[in-house]
Symmetry: C2
Subunit: 223 residues, 2 copies
């Protein structure tokens, strides 16, 4: 039972709150039973796991938690990065909010079993906030890193100012859905499509959710 805040495992967990340490160590942490269970379900073995009252003094675990309410368990895992593959990909460009990155990983998994590819300027998908927002989908469908030019398939850039609607575009082959930040600029030379809205308040995660549904649903209906 760990009873000192100077313990090396607790120090590692504290370091993993910083991106520089996550990158250096190639690790990340996941807090709470749901995420640790999701890792196990995806066959992802922890490098280390600490349970309050079993492995560590509960107050010490709370002290290294990123949750205001503290936590009962923290697992540390190796980061996984995959090669982009599949009928549907989501490419993110400059999506800086970790909650949005995590939510899109969750939607991609749920609606299209799709991999999310991170381009320049995106939040770290292995930050505590992104991992939490993914609700465990980060374990089931790890992210990829690539330039948009390196991806195969028809590239459709979601853009609220586009003339064509997503539903009017043929999606027979592999499709890459390209999404940017709400204020940012998308890569050039892509086919721009929009989701019809009544009010200008669809954020990037909602747009991704709708686009993933539309594409996966149409592929299933045609196939």
């Amino acid at each position: 039972m760990i009873t000192s805040a100077d313990n090396e495992k607790l120090k590692t967990i504290r370091k993993l709150q910083q991106k520089s340490w996550r990158t250096k160590l190639g690790l990340f942490s996941a807090e709470g039973e749901d995420l640790v269970d999701a890792a196990a379900a995806a066959g992802h073995e922890p490098a280390l796991v600490l349970r309050a009252g079993e492995d560590v003094d509960p107050d010490l675990l709370d002290a290294v938690s990123t949750l205001g309410s503290g936590t009962r368990v923290i697992g540390v895992y190796e980061q996984r990065w995959v090669d982009p593959a599949g009928e549907v990909l989501v490419y993110l460009h400059g999506v800086e909010d970790p909650g949005n990155v995590g939510a899109i990983i969750r939607s991609a998994h749920a609606l299209a079993d799709a991999t999310v590819v991170l381009g320049p300027g995106c939040a770290d998908p292995y930050s505590p906030k992104a991992v939490r927002a993914s609700m465990g989908s980060i374990f089931a469908r790890p992210p990829a890193r690539a330039a948009v030019d390196a991806l195969d398939g028809k590239k459709l850039a979601l853009d609220a100012t586009a003339e064509r609607q997503l539903r009017d575009v043929d999606v027979a082959g592999p499709v890459v859905l390209v999404l940017g930040s709400e204020r940012g600029v998308l890569p050039e030379g892509l086919e721009a499509v929009r989701i019809p809205v009544h009010a200008d308040s669809l954020n990037v995660a909602m747009a991704a959710t709708v686009a993933l549904y539309e594409v996966a649903n149409r592929m299933a209906a045609d196939g």
Copy 2:
């Protein structure tokens, strides 16, 4: 310039963090420029507004903020409740998380210009967290309260275990999308439909977003 924490306006704002006071006073608060601007754009005049450095000492405003980082402006507004009307309605049953209630109000506004109707067991849409998650759509499309039996239109209950898919249902007339909590029970006697998923991780706000897109999109295509 308010320089005392005992000021009546600051006390009112502090009280409005509690549902009992919000209900008693029929008021709610909105924090931050974006929400105060959204209120103005919707023609919703504040009962009171306090700006840091102009009307109130910034530290005192931060002390009554519900945001960890503090805020530069807080507006207080009258709660508005509308009668349910329109081609598309969203009926929520037992959706306890205020972030989900706010996100669904936002999606309903953006994708279908639709009103959200709150049934039993739902979070207060005028709580600070719900107002924030609505991103101002609470001002543009205020919520309604009603029993599901009192609503007109074809009632479609989103249920992950249903056999029929939402896309296979006729949506010519008025439609009421009925959504419950992730673990809860929906009202009986409704037509159950599902959104096809690859993994069981679609939360109620994501399901609402997809369903609103599907229904609004089909109505627009048919109309």
